[in-house]
């Protein structure tokens, strides 16, 4: 790979990588550092990747692993009892268009980490469930489960913000009536 190729890759991926890093680290400085570190690793090891069409997945996977490595090093590895997470279904979505991007990002940051990662990849880079599974190193069933729970948490966080902003929220409705039609 030439220097020009490297520069092109940086131009294509540094923004989405940074946004992914920001969703993980919640700190702009840490996100920038994670992004730079990922490209440093590509500069030294990227030539080992035979299929250049996988460069995007390689970068996102590497950044995620760097993030996890730092958490382990700092002893902050999240312990989430996934089964304890309350799954809440809402029949009406919050009005996302009423929020600015900062507020939406804050709501995403409030989602617990195991669910936030697949959500971010899904939203920011339009990763397929298979690509998300490859980045996270988990089965696709786990990805689908975490996307479902992550979206539920995200809607809940955004509903909370709607209340804070004074927008009237349509009451949560259970899906029991819908289930009878399924």
């Amino acid at each position: 790979m030439t220097e020009a190729d490297f520069e092109q890759l940086v131009d294509r991926q540094y923004r989405p990588l940074y946004r992914f890093a920001l969703s993980l680290s919640k700190s702009e400085a840490d996100a920038a550092d994670l992004t730079q570190q990922t490209f440093f690793l590509w500069a030294s090891k990227g030539d080992q990747l035979r299929d250049r069409s996988k460069a995007k997945s390689w970068l996102f996977t590497t950044l995620y692993r760097e993030f996890l490595g730092r958490l382990r090093h700092e002893g902050r590895f999240p312990k989430i009892e996934l089964d304890d997470v309350r799954e809440e279904e809402v029949s009406i979505s919050p009005n996302v268009n009423a929020f600015d991007s900062t507020t939406v990002l804050q709501a995403l940051h409030a989602v617990e980490e195991p669910f936030r990662v697949p959500l971010t990849l899904f939203y920011l880079e339009q990763f397929s469930y298979q690509e998300i599974a490859d980045v996270m190193g988990v089965p696709i069933g786990t990805v689908m489960s975490r996307l479902s729970r992550g979206k539920a948490q995200l809607r809940e966080r955004l509903f909370s913000k709607e209340e804070v902003l004074g927008n009237k929220v349509i009451a949560l409705q259970s899906d029991r009536r819908e289930e009878s039609h399924g």
Binding site: M1, T2, E3, F6, E7, V10, D11, Y14, R15, Y18, R19, L22, S23, E28, A32, T35, Q36, F39, F40, A43, S44, G46, D47, E89, S91, I92, S93, P94, V96, N97, F99, D100, S101, T102, V104, L105, L108, T120, F122, Y123, L124, Q126, S128, Y129, V143, M144, S145, L147, S148, K151, L154, R155, D175, E178, E179, H181, G182
Partner: protein, 250 residues
Amino acid sequence: MDNREAKFILNAYRPGGQDANDPRFAEALEQVRRDPILQRWFDESVAFDAAMTEKLFATSVPSDLRESILTGVKITRAPHWKNRLRKWAIAAAVVLSATLGVLIWHNARPAPVAGWQLQALDAILSSIARNESHFDLISSNPADLVKWLRENSAPTGKKLPNNLDKLPSIGCKTFFWHGKPVSLICFTLPEGRAIHLVMTTVSTDSDRAIKDQAKVIQEGHWATATWREGDMIYMLALDGSRDELRSYLL
């Protein structure tokens, strides 16, 4: 498939429609078409996801991040493409020296011309190739290398041969050869090749015998040129033709 299961699967359905033909979603999508309540949920879900994507894409990125990445990679380490090129250039120079060392001695008789420069080049590049020593400075800008050589009182001409200063450089090295200070600058040529400039000061009668008009020699696929300008002796070497080498002497 009930609606709960359909929703579980459809939460992974990308709002841009890329998954429309994915068989994993087929049954759930069929369920959506049959059930108007599920259809309503699906339409809202897709709209929500599309809005989320739009909002998150609007998140600003530090304006200096791109330059930090590119500059940081250059400074922290020579990227692998340059490492490969540098090692090739060194290896090629070592082969060059080994091949031409005897030839130069032959051509130099009875007045040896630049023989010791080739031996010196061979020795220092072999040392770099074995990681026993390293370039003193690595830079793709020849002006940086020339400036560093001058600041460190290493043999450096008033200016580089005309077409050399337009080439990206690899690095420079200073060393002593039997008490004589010597400077080396390596440059990159198109298609991953390299050209090497050795500089030293005149100090012996045999040095003074070197003419100011370049003596160009071709041996196999290697070409070298040796000449003197005032108190400086130059030797230029590349894997190529004499005509190509001459284009860098103008």
